[in-house]
Symmetry: C2
């Protein structure tokens, strides 16, 4: 049964929190920032949310016009225009949260989380030629493109790609913190690269280089690499 409790405050901030302030709500929105997702995909990305609560949140967010079913009535959830308006807020909140101490114990890390971080922190050389990477992460395929000094991320297969990478979010996060581990990750099988290895190195290093000057992301979001 969906939550119905309000701050009873006219302020826009309070009204926003009436809609997206319940527990897990903003993390559901986060998961939908890059691509529509199914119920089971959301559960996989948010392993600590219980199924009934996820169902409640999806109902509430849909009722409040933040998300919708992709073909109406289906089980694929996507952001509405209004929901997409939360994107800059979530990105800013993520920047703010970077220097909050890591929670103790093992922590989840979804593909979407790492990719949003990558997209925001990477500063590829604007002079370098555009490069497209195919990335298989958390059971989905993503298109990661370095162009004009920034990184774009899309769900789905690229038309063409200089390189294909397969790994898990935790490993990718570790590599973003320390690109030098790429060789050993390939060696022990936690990452697999086919194609132009130097493109991968450029991608990883562009986070290291760019992170220092323009945003407070140096500590990064390295998962407790279990």
């Amino acid at each position: 049964m969906p939550t119905s409790r309000s701050y009873r405050d006219s302020c826009g901030i309070a009204r926003a929190l009436d809609v997206v302030g319940e527990r897990w709500a903003l993390l559901v929105v986060r998961e939908l920032l890059l691509t529509p997702q199914r119920f089971s995909e959301l559960r996989h990305a948010l392993p600590h949310v219980s199924s009934n609560l996820l169902a409640d949140r999806l109902r509430e967010l849909e009722h409040n016009g933040v998300i919708r079913r992709s073909p109406a009535g289906s089980r694929v959830y996507e952001l509405t225009e209004r929901g997409r308006g939360l994107e800059p807020i979530l990105v800013a909140l993520g920047d703010w949260g970077i220097d909050v101490p890591q929670p103790p114990g093992p922590a989840a890390l979804s593909a979407t989380s790492v990719l949003i971080f990558l997209r925001g922190a990477a500063r590829p050389d604007p002079a370098a030629p555009p490069t497209t990477c195919r990335l298989e992460l958390g059971g989905r395929v993503w298109t990661v493109r370095m162009a004009s000094g920034r990184v774009e991320v899309q769900a789905g297969e690229p038309a063409t790609a200089a390189v294909s990478i397969r790994t898990e979010p935790t490993t990718l996060s570790a590599l973003l913190n320390d690109p030098a581990r790429l060789a050993s990750a390939c060696a022990d099988g936690s990452a697999a690269v086919v194609g132009d290895m130097s493109a991968v190195e450029r991608l990883l290093r562009s986070v290291q280089d760019g992170g220092n000057n323009s945003s407070p992301m140096s500590t990064s979001l390295s998962g407790s690499a279990k």
Copy 2:
């Protein structure tokens, strides 16, 4: 007893929400955006929060470095540098929440809420000479200054002022929506103006004029004017 429950997610967004995602936490931060406040002032601004919960939140936010006691050990709470980093996020969230339907029934509206809205929505004529207004709102005195096309708000008495206004947050909010009511508000005593009445009109109208083109605040945050 303070809350200790984590999303157990390495993502910066989740870690931010571990700190400021609990109920009422961001509204406490909101109240401290313009000036340090005492426990009783926070209770007055947030009439629906229970005293034990407010005490819990203050403890947690202090423990997490978002707020501190103004002279350490006192009962005046203020934002830390880290806490102030939430300001742009809260402002953006407030913009987003503007077109969330007003909650049913009577709603609270703190002085801080109205002033943050005023500051963000007002677009005074950049060509007009700077003007300082003294504003007595919700039992505190504020300095509101129109200069170089925007409005600055500070707590405390101005050194000099073109006009002094005394009213309540709800009334001010109604006037921001409809400056034409200023005369009747003065007549029935819900607002009192001493000094340059035209300065007040300029301030109020600058919200109407500026709100349309640059931000989505036309529906405003009018309280249920009971």
